[in-house]
Symmetry: C2
Subunit: 381 residues, 2 copies
């Protein structure tokens, strides 16, 4: 179980400073949560996850169910022991994959596969790679092509076996292109599923309910009220709002106004640097995003002077090549290496380069949020 | 410059125990030399290279010339500073690439590209991707398709800029399929090139001459005598003998009998575990090989119970999944992780898995040779 304590509320915004106590240690909030999709933060070792300043991770129920299967994780005593990760872990519910493999794909906004909206219209409104019913979703496994069924009951059972400190209710994450009619119907199902999740959970893991409702204010408010009325240990806020930042901040405010103040709030899958302060000022306590590791694997580093693309040749000559990645950063990559060497590694497709940049970026994001915590402490935001 | 001191000679074999003093520290010999082709041991950080027990590395002149170019390395104060590697480094001369891009390709034994021997015969004896002349070799760059010329003068100038502690003379490494006639002609050129290398070197780097001669005893003996008669600081022994282990040991003996005893001997590109003791007993002091990192990147780990293929599903269940990779190994990977987790990472194509296995394998190889040093010390081999 978890315990959440608010240490300070900002008088300038809705930002809160808190401590989230979990079986695997305390998390200072607001907190950036690096993504450990397959029980590892891509390229990092267990020790580095912590030395990069991470306090909590989020792993992926859908992916771990397919590979290596939750049975193995349970057999090893849960995900923390399995991966030898000593900080708290959350697991998402698999709901995002409903979005990403289903309507997301058909609407051209999936991360997995895209078809053009025109084609979608021609083919009708039934998603192609999965079938959503009242009981849950039938997927086609990308591992072996087998049919896999996941609904609220299945998701909770899988998450209980994975054994993270915090688990999420199974939801449907609607596409940004979804109509109000579709979103409203979907929301009813997400709420029914939320109650089923509460009913079937037997473990003493903390369970967060997920607020959906797309871009529609009345649906978001309705969803927040519903989820807040249930005995969840915390709240997740789902949905795709990356394309419209103003909309995202507005949506968070509609929702957080309805949520019980004393429970932690997690924003799912949003965490660009430029959004962080806004998110936190809107009353979010934790949020996850793959940005630092994803950009690192494409040769990009985040620095106090902006994002640097190390695949460019300009870092291979003159003064720039001898500079550290970020003179203001204290991480071992910035202390020990130059832009020239890192650029060489990235351009030569050396894995060493990807891991050094991943470490720096995760460290940078964690430090960035630590600074925001300091600002709240000092009453600056 | 370097200084080589023999501490003990075995009375059971030709094995020697020694210390090689270099500007970047002392190397206990016999010593396994991990490969740092592009100024990094693939997947490892600079710190890990050392904590895995490595004492010396070998980098690749040909690859560093193409990417990022020796100018950048010189500009950074040499390869050690460029890559922040605190142990001695060797650079090979680029000669092996003559083999691998040229006749190696045409004879179907290249690491880069293969054509069938029949096609080679039809197409005549001129290698297709390069042109070997008295002055050197014209390559086609795989980076940008430009023509690049490298001969003994160019190789030494490049290696001086790269700035490793130990550099090698430019040679032609003949294919295992080369005729005696071709090998003899090639050897004369390799010897002329050796003298040119001695003549043009201006730095105080140590320069090793390379003994060639293929599988022909008289040519190997001739080459060893020639190279031993020149003022090299040490000897490299080149050639492809991986296919026939007995032949390799015989060849090393032909050669080492002719070499001055008080100079270090490096066997180029040979280092399978099962060969190590034989190599060392034949009088080799240092040897390099990509085996530990290459196999790691294909999911294989070397252990005291043999090579393990972690891509197999059998490590994902039962007792095997909970065992450490090698209960006899003291490296952090074996202390902190199970076969089950490592197998999951490898099967899920996680870079973290490749780096953990690379670390373990390099540690294992270094430890393996450290044990052989102990055996020599104790008079056991």
């Amino acid at each position: 179980m978890i315990e959440f304590k608010i240490l300070k509320k900002s008088d300038k915004s809705n930002a809160r400073l808190g401590v989230l106590k979990t079986p695997h240690g305390e998390v200072e909030t607001p907190c950036f949560v690096p993504v450990a999709t397959q029980a590892t933060v891509k390229t990092l070792s267990s020790d580095e996850i912590i030395s990069a300043g991470s306090q909590m991770l989020i792993a992926n129920t859908f992916h771990l169910h397919l590979k290596p299967g939750e049975k193995l994780l349970k057999d090893h005593g849960g995900i923390n022991k399995f991966a030898n990760i000593k900080i708290p872990i959350m697991t998402d519910s698999g709901g995002f994959q409903v979005f990403s493999l289903g309507f997301g794909r058909d609407h051209g906004v999936s991360k997995v596969e895209k078809i053009k909206p025109e084609e979608f219209i021609k083919k009708g409104s039934q998603p192609k790679l999965l079938k959503i019913t009242e009981e849950g979703v039938e997927f086609t496994s990308y591992v072996d092509g087998s049919k896999i069924f996941m609904g609220p009951k299945e998701s909770i059972k899988i998450q209980e076996k994975i054994g993270a400190d915090i688990i999420f209710a199974f939801d449907e994450c609607t596409a940004p292109t979804a109509t109000k009619e579709y979103t409203a119907e979907s929301l009813k199902k997400t709420h029914r599923w939320a109650d089923i999740c509460l009913g079937v959970k037997k473990s003493n893991q903390a369970l967060y309910g997920i607020v959906q409702g797309g871009k529609y204010k009345d649906l978001r408010v309705e969803s927040a009220k519903f989820i807040a009325s249930r005995p969840f240990d915390g709240f997740g806020i789902g949905g795709e709002f990356g394309g419209d930042k103003k909309q995202m901040v507005k949506m968070i405010k509609w929702v957080t106004e309805e949520l019980s103040e004393n429970k932690p709030r997690h924003l799912l899958g949003i965490g660009y640097l430029e959004d962080m302060e806004k998110i936190i000022k809107s009353g979010i306590d934790t949020f996850d995003c793959t940005v630092p590791t994803h950009y690192a694997r494409h040769g990009n580093a985040f620095t106090s002077k902006g994002k640097i693309d190390l695949t460019k040749t300009k870092y291979l000559k003159g003064k720039a090549s001898k500079e550290s990645l970020d003179p203001e950063c204290s991480c071992f990559v910035c202390r020990e290496h130059t832009k020239g060497y890192l650029s060489h590694l990235v351009r030569a497709h050396e894995i060493t380069g990807l891991r050094l940049l991943s470490f720096h970026n995760v460290h940078y994001f964690n430090k960035y949020v630590a600074n925001i915590r300091e600002k709240i402490k000092k009453g600056l935001i």
